[in-house]
Amino acid sequence: MPQESKANPLLSLRGIRKSFGAVEVLRGVDLNVYSGKVTALVGDNGAGKSTLIKGIAGIYPFDGGDYVFEGESVQISDPRAANDLGIEVVYQDLALCDNLDVVHNMFLGREEKRGLILNEDDMERRARETLDGLSVRTLKSVRQQVSSLSGGQRQTVAIARAVLWNSKLVILDEPTAALGVAQTAQVLSLVRRLADAGLAVILISHNMVDVMEVADNIAALYLGQMAAQVEASDVSHGEVVELITAGRSGELGIQPKNGEGAA
């Protein structure tokens, strides 16, 4: 199974470029994301993680490079197009409405209706199926207002919302940044279960402990270039940190002969 998915990445980016005015933020980035695997996207502030993610999600178009999804080259012009492909992003601020309950939030903007009327029964049933499918047992009721939830529970709701739509790729932006120890463990195990259920997951994180714990695959960005994308089992904590801070680690990474990478 891993070999098979290895051969065909769900998402494959080749030579992605993106500039904002005179600033070249992404300089020929390659990235492979596989179904059933957690791909950690790491890199220092300003390495281009957010730009890469927003491009994948269709917030803005890349200037150059190939965007290949399920083996086909695609043009993503807006977030809807990304959603239609099965790509969902859970942003760091979660984008939940505190005054609505869990079901309402999961279906926000894509409510199920019978004629004019909201189909609350079906929405509640589907929300519960999704949460049960993810083995979420931390919610008291799907009719709880989000304002009454803890940070970890909110993260859970946001992730569940992302997988509700038969999505194939879920992008998580710093899901554990604001959480305590116990809740971080809960969310990480949820991330693991997403991948085990066959989804492709991109996890952005600054926390190396989290990355080493849950990632199958680590992609390190360094100053707008992909320093290296490696199997998590092949590298040590220290090597990843070197990739992030210097762009290379021994044999791995951007070698000085490239010229630009040796800063």
Binding site: L94, A95, H104, L108, G109, L118, D121, R128, R137, S147
Partner: protein, 411 residues
């Protein structure tokens, strides 16, 4: 397994469970309509004790309903705007301007009633569209836009009404809205239709949700709600059906005022829009977290424009009620304390000034509280100063409760 758990948590314990849930909610800062209900009870007891003869009479009860009706309708519109976290200070004069259009076309130009009504409501709609465009497209704070409109509409109204100063209304339909009543039999039929309709609708929904193992309230809670409606509605209908004419031998005045079914229709219709349609859900979403709503693909500016249009159109409806109650339109129609009372009503009822929380029924409850104050205070003191101070204080208390509950629920 967890399916069972999630469903069970809201059903177990029946009435007692529901009560402890309610206490938890209040502790958590979500007071809902509790302050309004308490306030209503306290005020009614207070005024009855101080000035029972006049206050607690059948005549005054009907009078109070008609006074409160205008505040309630105006407040219903404001709920839509407040839900977004916006404000409409011009709603009072939107009511006045629309009423002026009604008066001029009907009395001076002799238009048919239906055309005049359309012109009146259309005026409200246009005012709301204008405000909404300025707020949503240009991004001017609604406070400033509607403050400017507060002044501009006042001027527009003066121009429309012209030199005469007051326009009389003679149309029987417009006058009937606030001054005529259902026959006692029709009143009881209305009561039964509403009661049975509510019991049937909510009961069938409850049965379906129990059968399909979805979250639902306890059956005992449903029985309690239906029983409360039966008792309160029954008492209200009975009181309104009493003879309240001072000279029954000359003219008999009894029955439920027409205004009550009108308010009921608005209450049910608008509650349906807010609670059961995608549009209503999106209003709450925009009020709760506009950025999240935008990312979910909701057109925030369209929702905003629509809410301002609903608000001003309901203000036009309130304008018709003003015209009907006074049998005329004057430059002060919709002015003075009108808007303050309406905003106060919505907030006292439990609608948050910070957006995202509120219901149409808040406007009804809060409108009754404000109506009782406006009706009862002049009976105990003739000093206008005291009346203003008390009303201002009530609004401040309501806003404080709102701010405190928000603070509590976010920390």
């Amino acid at each position: 397994m967890s399916t069972q758990d999630t469903a069970a948590s809201t059903t177990s314990g029946g009435l007692r469970g529901a009560f402890s849930d309610y206490v938890d909610r209040i502790r958590g800062g979500n007071l809902g309509s509790l302050p309004a209900v308490l306030g209503l009870v306290v005020l009614v007891v207070l005024f009855t004790v101080l000035e029972g003869q006049t206050f607690f009479s059948a005549f005054n009860f009907a009078n109070l309903m008609s006074q409160a009706a205008m505040i309630i309708v105006l407040a219903m519109g404001l709920v839509f705007v407040l839900l977004l976290g916006e404000i409409d200070l011009s709603a009072g004069f939107a009511a006045g301007t629309s009423a002026a259009i009604l008066g001029v076309t009907l009395t001076q130009n002799g238009w048919p009633l239906i055309l005049s009504l359309i012109a009146c409501l259309g005026t409200g709609l246009a005012i709301g569209l204008f405000i909404g465009l300025l707020v949503a497209r240009l991004g001017i704070p609604s406070f400033v836009v509607t403050l400017a409109m507060f002044l501009a509409l006042q001027g527009l109204m003066l121009l429309i009404i012209g030199e005469g100063g007051t326009i009389g209304i003679e149309d029987e339909f417009v006058i009937a809205v606030q001054n005529r009543n259902l026959t006692p039999i029709a009143g009881w039929i209305l009561f039964l239709v509403v009661l049975v309709g509510y019991a049937l609708f909510s009961g069938l929904r409850l049965r379906r949700r129990i059968a399909e193992n979805l979250t639902h309230e306890a059956v005992s809670v449903w029985i309690f709600k239906v029983a409360t409606l039966a008792v309160l509605g029954g008492i209200g209908t009975f009181l309104l059906n009493q003879e309240r004419s001072r000279r029954p031998d000359i003219t008999s005045i009894q029955g439920v005022p027409y205004i009550i079914p009108l308010i009921l229709i608005l209450l049910i219709g608008l509650t349906f829009v807010l609670a059961r349609t995608g549009f209503g859900r999106h209003i709450y979403a925009v009020g709760g977290n506009a950025e999240a709503a935008r990312r979910a693909g909701i057109s925030v500016s369209r929702i905003k424009i629509a809410c301002f249009m609903i608000c001003s159109t309901l203000a036009a409806v309130a304008g018709i009620l003003f015209a009907s109650r006074d049998n005329s339109i004057s430059p002060t129609t919709g002015g003075s304390t009108t808007l303050l009372f309406a905003v106060g009503a919505a907030v006292i009822g439990g609608t948050s000034l910070f957006g995202g929380r509120g219901k149409i029924s808040d406007a009804v409850l809060g409108g009754l509280v404000v109506g009782v104050i406006a009706n009862g205070l002049p009976l105990i003191t003739s000093q206008a100063g005291i009346q203003f101070i008390v009303t201002g204080l009530v609004l401040l208390v309501a806003a404080s409760v709102d701010a405190l509950s928000r603070k509590k629920s976010t920390t």
